[in-house]
Subunit: 301 residues, 2 copies
């Protein structure tokens, strides 16, 4: 998986940083996660191939996660897109987007399919042969979901030396990859485990922005490879979390620890902080593999 | 008048240029004209005092002129704005904005007043003690207006030497500025023209984007101090104007010439052109005072 941060600051604008948007590349599937104002420019800046995005996931309808979507959809049309695009987001997103496209007489060219979310329980919302995407219900001021991207378990891998030693015909290689026992040229049954290795452990990425500290997400994100968790504030401003339903760096790290994830990426920093290194310092007192999001930064895992 | 270009490119995004938005400062009145995506960041970048904007004029509801408005309105709220804001734009703008604010539960803090435009004739849409704003009906793919900003005729100026020579009491200075004849200490009537100068000729700024070439605007913009006219294409791509209802640099210059304006600013360049100097060259074959818009460029007149 390759995660590219397009923006990771919270609401009010900064001259040289952008609101939330990310691109996740899973084996060639390009997913756009949130789409704050200016996302299409960030996609250009970081040379992401627009046209390969087929699914967009919007966590909630606050502007810093959503106001860039209409511009991107319009641009797809101007650039001659024909492939269908799927948009997953809270109920209301369809009306807001279609109204604007209608007002600008800008609809058409490609099919735009909305999947409006209303459930307060985690649900499977997307699946293909390689990936599953589940919602992570979050607790924010408006209806909000994080998203869990899970690779599917891949095929078993041939142990080519064992395969040759056991005199297995080539036409059975596919069966071995699918986990089946096979019969060799001598007519003997060969157990699958003798001639194959386990597939790689499937990776997963949990995106959690925006939310107050909530342990209800732990069962969903348990053992994720990488967790992105918002940390709008530091503990010194913890009193602001209550009103705004955001989390501190320390709270994000506590979730990472309790969920037993491998790596934590912090983001959604309030624009009040000049230096964001202190977010890493605070989180590192609780969890020991912490990274900071930054515009244009890539994470490979 | 001071005009600051915040963005002047047309629809598809560029990494380092912005879609249409301008700020016009007339004697301390700050008007925002169009508001493409990213405008709030441009306002930050060029250190324009957000809070002083009290009127926003939107020409039409294509994304590159309008998609930055919702983000700016949300930011005003986050920054604690209390002063009312007036938005002038095509019918439908109110519904699009209010729906998004409602979905994000982001309404309130300050009063937002919409003035929806439907007329196909030029009309006076704003007036205070210093400025009048008229619509300039344009011909584009959707309902579009340009805007004419006209200074009001100022007060007459005292000819202080003549005033003293004519022995006029100080309490009459105000009457002279208002154009009245006055009676001096000797009881003689002194004609206003003897003791005052004409006020400065009022300046005007005509903003015309987007439109095909149309002479119907000439009576409205006649003798304007400065005309901003779109020039999406060069003559070599004139065939694209017909379909898209845009104008070439040469056509913009022809309008400037026929309207007898003092200065022409070109903008709304298609992103297909690498070097925009050729826009100036083409227009200069027709009209001799041509400038190019550019992000962050200021024009004082």
């Amino acid at each position: 998986m390759k995660l590219t941060i397009l923006g990771c600051y919270s609401a009010t604008p900064r001259a040289f940083n952008n609101p939330t948007a990310q691109v996740l590349d899973i084996k060639g599937n390009l997913f756009l996660i949130d789409c704050g104002e200016g996302t299409q420019v960030q996609l250009r800046k970081f040379k992401v191939k627009f046209s390969r995005i087929k699914q967009v996931f919007i966590s909630h309808l606050h502007g810093d996660h959503f106001y860039g979507l209409i511009g991107l959809l319009s641009t797809f049309r101007l650039l001659g897109r024909e492939a269908e695009l799927h948009v997953y987001g809270p109920k209301g997103i369809k009306e807001a987007i279609l109204l604007q496209l209608k007002l600008g007489n800008s609809y058409g060219g490609y099919e735009l399919i909305f999947h409006e979310l209303i459930s307060k329980e985690s649900e499977l919302i997307f699946e293909n042969d390689k990936v599953e995407v589940y919602t992570i219900p979050l607790k924010h001021r408006v209806y909000t979901n994080g998203f869990l991207f899970k690779e599917k378990l891949g095929e078993r891998k041939l142990d080519i030396n064992a395969v040759l030693n056991n005199d297995i015909e080539q036409c059975d290689y596919r069966n071995i990859k699918l986990g089946k026992d096979v019969v060799n040229r001598q007519g003997d049954l060969v157990a699958n485990s003798v001639v194959s290795f386990d597939p790689e452990h499937p990776k997963s990425y949990a995106f959690c922005s925006d939310t107050k500290y909530t342990e209800t997400i732990l069962p969903i994100i348990q053992n994720a490879t990488v967790l992105y968790h918002e940390s709008t504030f530091l503990e010194e401003h913890a009193h602001l979390c209550k009103k705004t339903k955001h989390a501190t760096a320390k709270e994000a790290a506590t979730i990472a620890l309790k969920a037993n994830v491998k790596q934590l990426i912090l983001g959604h920093f309030s624009t009040r902080y000049g230096n964001i290194e202190c977010f890493k310092e605070e989180a590192s007192t609780v969890f020991n593999n912490v990274d900071l999001a930054d515009d244009g930064k890539e994470f490979n895992f």
